[in-house]
Amino acid sequence: MLPKGLEKQLNILDFSLTSLWRRKLKNLSIMLVFALVIFLLGSFQMLTGALTSSAEAVLENTPEITIQKMSAGRQEAIPLAYIEKLRSIYGIRAVIPRIWGYYFDESNLANFTILALELGSMPFDSNLNLTLAHGHFPKKTEPGTAVIGRSVQDILGLDKRRTFSLFRPDLSLKSFKVVGVFSQQTDLLSNDLIVMNLTDARDLFGIPVSMATDLCIYVANPTEIETIAKKIAVLLPDTRVLTKSQIQKTYQVVFSWRSGLASICLLTALVAFAILAWDKASGLSPEEKREIGILKILGWETGDILAVRFWESTLVSALAFIIGCTAAYIHVAFFDASLLKAVMVGWSVIHPPFKLLPSVTLADLLLIFTFSVLPFLGATVIPAWRCATVPPDSVIR
């Protein structure tokens, strides 16, 4: 036997459900549009949250300091002579010159990232082969060899072929032999990568022996990174000094509510909701008013009528919220966020499969709930209260 209060609420819930079902086309449409808006917002938040947390997890070991030479507001090659100047700063453990850049493959319209550095001097060097599906990284004694990402292999159509050629700036061809392919596990980082020897990269890009693209600096004491960065900036005023914390910070802000698509999603949601709320708040239909009047004549109290309206709004908005959030998770986890991915990768020919864990945090769910469900409840219950307080005979007449 249910307590009397609960039994009453169950009866009101039954009445609300029947009332919703009577106008099923209208209510189902509202719920679907509402769920769609929540789905879009939820998908965006889950995808960007997943990318941000992935970046946070894997970019822990980026170079402690990166130095780029600037000229006329653009990055240009940095002279290796700067390494000698840097030796005067106490606390620098290693300075590693790096050559990297982009190679546009005109036949496939794909952008590859070419990377070359002295692998033997980098941290975790001994474990680096774990990142490969097969093969090994190019050794100093193996000129003309390269390790490639999985998409590079696909786009170049290598299949079982081991050699490929790239154009130098003077349009002469340089051939490479594939000695390794990156593992599927590193796709998010290495999908478009071609790793080679420094000598080969210089030859490919036409960079003089005395130059590099940038310098990676590792310090003896990580707590001194900021101090050493300041000293470098003073010593080499024509350079831009990036610290590890700045690089990590990038991904905390790069996908945010301020980004264009997020603003569009948010604005669309707000406009959709504003139209809905305006429609609701502008008053009930004569039929709904008459229904309230009849209920009051039959002995219903104002509180009971408000309870009916509350249950109706709660059911529509809460079900839309649950369905929208569930669909958003399924969209990101099982369908690679395919609706957002098209916008996110743009004209990129190479893009990794999004094997990501959708970020579902209480804070995000509460934010979406607060922006969608609570205002909807307010917008539907308040007009009902205004109508319920009017004498019933004036409503049904």
Partner: protein
Amino acid sequence: MRPSHTLFIFLLLLIIIDGMLYLHAKRLSKDLKEDQAIQAIAVAGLGLTDLGVATEARYTRHPAVSDPMAPFMDHPGAIEHFPTGSFWSAPTNMFSQKY
């Protein structure tokens, strides 16, 4: 059957689906931790700075080491035209710390 009972059955169905998704998330999280350990080695060993999500423009391939002005550097008065530029917000506070 009372309408509320139908609702409870529907809610139960949603709870079961969400529970299964929760279990899926737990398993995926475990798989991804293994992948992230390998990715961390690649980052340390190759000095990588960015995720390779969008490769169409240098400022979306390597936002961490690109200048925030890079999208507008093609010529004086250039406007940003890559589709991904609408998704990625400029890392505004990245260069706020001057050395």
